[in-house]
Amino acid sequence: MVIGAGGAGQRAAIAAAQAGCKVTVVCKSLLGKAHTVMAEGGIAAALANVAHLDSWEAHFADTMKGGKFINNWRMAEIHAKESPESVRELERWGALFDRTSDGLIHQRAFGAHTYPRLAHVGDRTGLEMIRSLQDRLVHTDLVEVFMEVTVSSLFALDGRVTGALAYRRSDGSLIVFRAKAILLATGGAGRIYRVTSNSWEGTGDGTALAYEAGADLRDCEMVQFHPTGMVWPAGVRGILVTESVRGEGGILRNKDGERFMENYDPDRMELSSRDIVARAINAEVLAGRGEPHGGVFLDISHKSPEFIKQRLPSMYEQFLKLAKVDITKEPMEVAPTIHYYMGGVNVEAETGASSLEGLYAAGEVAGGLHGANRLGGNSLSDLLVFGKRAGQAAANYAVSSGAVRPIPKRQIEAGIDELLGPLKRPSGASPYKLQAELQDICTKFAPIIRTGNGLKEGLDKVLELKEEVRECGAGGPVGRAYNPGWHTAQDLRNMVTNAEALLRSAIERTESRGAHARSDFPKLDPRLAAVSFMVRKSADGQMTVFPVESEPTPPNLTEVISQSFQKYTPEETE
């Protein structure tokens, strides 16, 4: 059983079916609408089509440096080595990428990648990826897809996962799935913030389901602010402005016209890592150098209109339509927006296996690859590389694990009680109201620069809210047919769990590293360089956070990281 049908879920389902398993794919939305579709920039892979100097070593080193070394090094190594083949495989499945002049897949420059590395098609690479996978998936035997079905809880017995409870959105009917292995590919939890590039689906279902079922989570404090989200008009605040704008030469300026990245990262400028650019924009705005709507300017208008329309077609359209701004002539207004969860289910690098037997995770819901900060483009390759691996591993496990286990009736009943609870509390609080409160708490107390006191206050508020959520209703009518109030009440439970994990982990990490910046601990603490904070549900039902020392990086890889890679000059190829 695969939960989620974005890039990771689809790739995993294909792999599992090819390994001979009957696969059920369950997704909250229609097929092909998952968050992957919004990925714009490209797939990072050391194909070396544009920069011949590129290599897996350089990609690995960039990923580790970007993640401030708390990455699972083995995942980063596998990712760097297997990404190029995963892109070529997608091409053999029908994906069409933009080309170089000699007919190979073109690669564009992106933040903190030493070389131009992102295979792309215009600025809608995610759409190309999901359609190619979708076409493959629906023509793969042994796969059945359940669209607009939401999983509300996982079942486990004797330390092994046994199945899941779900409901159909259309009519509210319930389904109990029995499965030998379950693979989570549910994405992140960006919706716990008010300003986010995430769709309504990003409610952290997978992390919450895994946590409740007994699996460990890691690095939950690591939440990425994408430096450039739309700012104006207010109605569109948070919508993503692809990093490709900077990759194609876009320049960031403050209200005085100053190219301020010179003061923060003079070497890499706009193409510094996302954590640094996001904090730089934040600092400019706080210092009063922002534009009137609370952002800064991002300008690409020095390039020709033809170039912009070919390389950034959806950005051109997005600004023209939603903000009435012609980006070939005027600058864009941008500010950081919540974008990506680096943390997630703690998994084994090779297989995506979680700490709960039979439960696997791949993609954004899994933690480890990106460490404290993800590089742009590394998520799409993550989906392909680890979707495939986890799908294969889950299939192998399912084949060797014997018969499907029974699910005790009392577990199913308890799951149904929880699921239908909001419909039985007509006077309960509105889930929409509580969701907005949660978003305000996270936005206020776990912002781009955090403080210990703020985080603690935020945690107290989340714990109070958790009690209210337990008693919340559906906000109005209590029918089960396509009732978004009821659906929101389900999502909310998961969101609260994610917010609690985020705040508790952030309190423990008393340093500033990558996406986690604290004004009371503004420096990197070398003692925490090999430490990840794990989140686990203890026997008494409380959430516990504990540090785990990661396995030391082997000497050959340490050498790779310290290697100095020759700088890329565009003249090298084309």
Binding site: W93, L127, A234
Partner: protein, 254 residues
């Protein structure tokens, strides 16, 4: 233009059998799109108002509806572009599930019937990178911009007014077939499908689909007409028919 920062939204509520247009007064600010107004109603006035949406950035194609009678993406339709009153109804061509949500599963069934991308045996197993020129991939890339909002299906006369889902796959799947047929490495020939089940001949080239496409794909000019020509070439070209006839006569003589 909406006055005093509010707008009246008339929203279709109910099922196919039992429904009504319900009026809501909704506050708007600069940049508010129709989807924002619908979500405001959901959060503040009608918690169970059913609407399908995802990205709110015109990239996923989920929030299709008929706004003042025009098929549009709600997330891409600023309230300011309309008058003081806006009506929102579900797409007409598909069965209503509830409120603004329709059952679009027919489209997914059609997609399954189209033979997928099929490279040559050699290409399929070639571990090396393929070489293709930009101008060769560009034709297919235009069609691959499709976000499957199904607005073209909604507005197509064959499907909407004549309900001939049995005879025509609809514009969405004409461009799907075109994207495969024009893929530089695809080896299949889908002309028989076009003439048969896909029913490209049903299209009367009114270009309504092209007009509503939020991705500005030239559905009629760049996909349907070339596909029609391809089919005509094979099945209805008089010169070819003559050549075929002459050849068969000659073969008989020999």
């Amino acid at each position: 233009m909406a006055s005093a920062g509010t707008v009246t939204m008339n929203v279709f509520r109910g099922t196919a059998q039992d429904n009504e247009m319900v009026s809501f007064r909704v506050p708007v600010r600069e940049g508010t799109v129709v989807l924002d107004a619908i979500l405001w109603i959901q959060a503040n006035a009608a918690s169970d108002l059913a609407v399908r949406w995802n990205c709110k950035a015109a990239k996923c194609g989920s929030c299709s509806a008929e706004i003042n009678g025009f098929p549009r993406l709600m997330c891409k339709s600023p309230v300011a572009d309309y008058g003081d009153t806006i009506s929102v109804r579900p797409m007409k061509t598909f069965p209503i599930i509830r409120d603004l949500v329709t059952d679009v599963s027919w489209n997914y069934d059609v997609n399954k019937k189209i033979p997928p991308f099929t490279p040559s045996e050699r290409d399929a197993t070639d571990p090396k990178a393929w070489r293709m020129q930009q101008e060769d991939v560009d034709r297919s890339i235009e069609f691959r911009k499709c976000i499957e909002c199904f607005l073209c299906q909604d507005v197509c006369h064959v499907l909407r007014d004549h309900d001939r889902k049995d005879a025509f796959y609809g514009p969405r799947f004409m461009i799907r077939i075109a994207s495969l047929e024009m893929h530089p490495r695809d080896t299949l020939d889908r002309t028989a499908l076009l003439k048969g089940d896909a029913g490209v001949g049903m299209c009367n080239v009114s270009k309504c689909c092209t007009e509503v496409c939020p991705e500005h794909i030239h559905i009629t000019d760049n996909a349907i007409i070339p596909l029609k020509e391809r089919m005509d070439d094979v099945y209805f070209d008089p010169v070819r028919a003559l050549v075929r006839k002459v050849r068969s006569v000659r073969t008989r003589k020999e």
